[in-house]
Structures are given as structure tokens and as C-alpha cells.
Symmetry: C2
Subunit: 186 residues, 2 copies
């Protein structure tokens, strides 16, 4: 009897043995991740395990090959805002180049969003490119604001170093507060 | 002798006594935060304190009045990506409406960014509106991507409930991975 897609592409939490199943190689399809020793992996795995349900990484293991073909993570931010509310932050979602078109990305997003809901979050957020906005809209997300970044201790040639020299202060009175408002509420 | 702006507007970490100094009222200038009891505040303060340097909330207390007039938070995300790298997430930045134009927002951002650097983060990110992009650019940030959100258990009438009914799967093969790439790398 043929297995359902659900059985075939079950989403589960990351296990320490997944390093040997291509988890790091999968992350390399996202960004720099070229030198993680077994010891470093185990230490970081332990640090994240200590956070329990506050930081969850999920994966999909390919039947037969036992290779990790999709992953994503969500961590729970505890706020005072929104009456001591919680927000789920989704990060590091990737589907192996050989396994695209099977909707595994959506399975990962749904798993992570459901986890955030079970943790009592009032919203889940993530960042994406303009090109991928339609995908996340299909997952139920909508565009809220701009994501801004500042690189520190760059590990790739595209990143600049962080400017800590004095800079001219902001002239606009609105900037700070509204900026804060957006970085807080959205 | 007149105090310097630095002495006058010193940024420090949140203290449990700050609830009585208008910290919650300040957050109300950002978003809903209208029913936080002393017990709830102390519990959340304790939860965040347990995270130590992994989640820091800073404030500026006004001399004389002893009122909290600015705040912001940063939490450190531990990744496997970027060779077990760390990312600082800035949230909930606000300057009291009566204290704008004193560059307190920039002091808060600099404090939080410096903390992330001291924690070994390779980048710091935050979300803001298009209107506030110039302010964050002056703080050294640059626009990286779009922030997407999905509301859960809405606490205001503008929020929709999260769709958990089955949705049509994504047609595009690129969506998941590039989406993941952006939500991971940026």
C-alpha cells in the first residue's frame, strides 16, 4: 500500500545524529556553513536543547536515503509588550535542491507556525525576499514591514564592518519613536 | 558643572522597580500593553532574567522625574548556520513622546547593537516601516528584505485568525528554497 505524502514526508525535530545525515550540507544551500566540527555541532545542539520548546529546529528525512532534505527553525520571544505576549520567529528554512516542488517548504512552515501557536504566540514573523513574498502569502503570511540589518564581524566579503565611530545624530523627531514602534509592533 | 548628555541620558538594563517608573506606560506608546499585573511583570522579568545576556532590555531613566523615557530589547539567536553563528534581534524600541529629539532612540540602538557585538553576533536585525528606514540607516543599518507576519490568537480587532485549514500547495519550485534562503540568511 502506498504511503501518504504525510507519512512519506513527516516533519520531526532535529536529532543529534542528523549531522551525519547531511543537515549541515543542507544549510550550505542557504549560506556559509563550511566548518562545523562534531564537537561544535554537539555543543550548539546542547545549547539549543536546553531551551526546550523555546527554540525548535525541525527537519524532513528522506525515506530510503535517510538524508535530511528540508529544515527550518522557530524561537519564541517573550515580551512585556502585548500584555507579556510571545512572538514566534521563523529562521533558516531550506529545502534540498533535489527535493523541490514537493511542497516540503510549506510542511516546514506549517510545523513551525503550529509550534508557535501551541506556545501561545500572538504572531509569527519571518523575513523573505520580494521574489518569495507570494510563497509566504500562500502560507498565510502577509507583508508587514522592512527588515533592516547591520553586519558585525563579517564572515563574507559582502558584509561591511559595523560603524561604531560617532555618527551625526538624527534630525527627525519622529524617527526614533516610530522606528521603535515598527520594530516593536511589527 | 553641567552634566554631559552621556551622563544625563545613561542607558542601563531594565530593573524590576522600573514597572513603577512608567515602563509599561512607555510600552503603551508602541502597542497594546494595558493589563500587566505586578505578578505578571515579576514573572516575565524573572523568565527574561534567567536568559541573562541572551535577552537584554535596556532603558533610559529621566533625571529628576525618575521616569523611564526610552527602552529597547535585543535577544541573541543561536544558529547552526554561519558556522554556529549568532544573530542579535532588536525589538520593542520606543522613546517617550515627551522626550523626542534628544537622540535617545539612537542611544538605545547603539547600546543594543554593542551588546550583540559583545555576544559575538555576526549581524543585528530589526524591522521597521518605510518611513523609518532613514533613521535606521543613520544608525548604520541597511534594508535587507521584507518582514512577513501571520497573526495568531489575535488580541486586537485588526488581526485575523491564523488559517490552519488545508491550503493549495505552492506551484513554484523556487518559492520554498529561496524563501527559506531569505528567511535564513537575511
Amino acid at each position: 500500500m502506498q504511503k501518504s505524502e504525510e507519512q512519506k514526508y513527516r516533519v520531526r525535530k532535529l536529532e543529534i545524529s542528523d549531522k551525519g545525515k547531511g543537515f549541515i550540507e543542507l544549510l550550505q544551500q542557504l549560506s556559509v556553513c563550511d566548518s562545523v566540527s562534531d564537537k561544535e555541532f554537539e555543543e550548539r545542539f546542547g545549547e539549543l536543547s536546553d531551551l526546550g520548546d523555546e527554540h525548535v529546529i525541525c527537519v524532513i528525512e528522506e525515506e530510503g536515503s535517510g538524508k535530511i532534505i528540508a529544515t527550518g527553525s522557530v524561537f519564541i520571544e517573550k515580551k512585556f509588550l502585548r500584555n507579556c505576549g510571545k512572538v514566534g520567529h521563523i529562521e533558516d528554512v531550506v529545502v534540498d535542491s533535489s527535493a523541490r516542488g514537493k511542497h516540503l517548504g510549506k510542511r516546514i512552515i506549517n510545523f513551525l507556525t503550529e509550534h508557535a501557536r501551541s506556545m501561545g504566540c500572538y504572531k509569527v514573523i519571518l523575513d523573505c525576499s520580494v521574489d518569495n513574498k507570494p510563497f509566504y502569502e500562500k502560507c498565510g503570511f502577509h507583508h508587514k514591514s522592512l527588515q533592516m540589518a547591520i553586519p558585525i564581524n563579517p564572515i563574507d566579503e559582502n558584509a561591511e564592518s559595523i560603524p561604531f565611530s560617532p555618527r551625526p545624530y538624527l534630525k527627525s523627531k519622529e524617527g526614533c519613536t516610530d522606528g521603535g514602534k515598527e520594530s516593536a509592533v511589527v
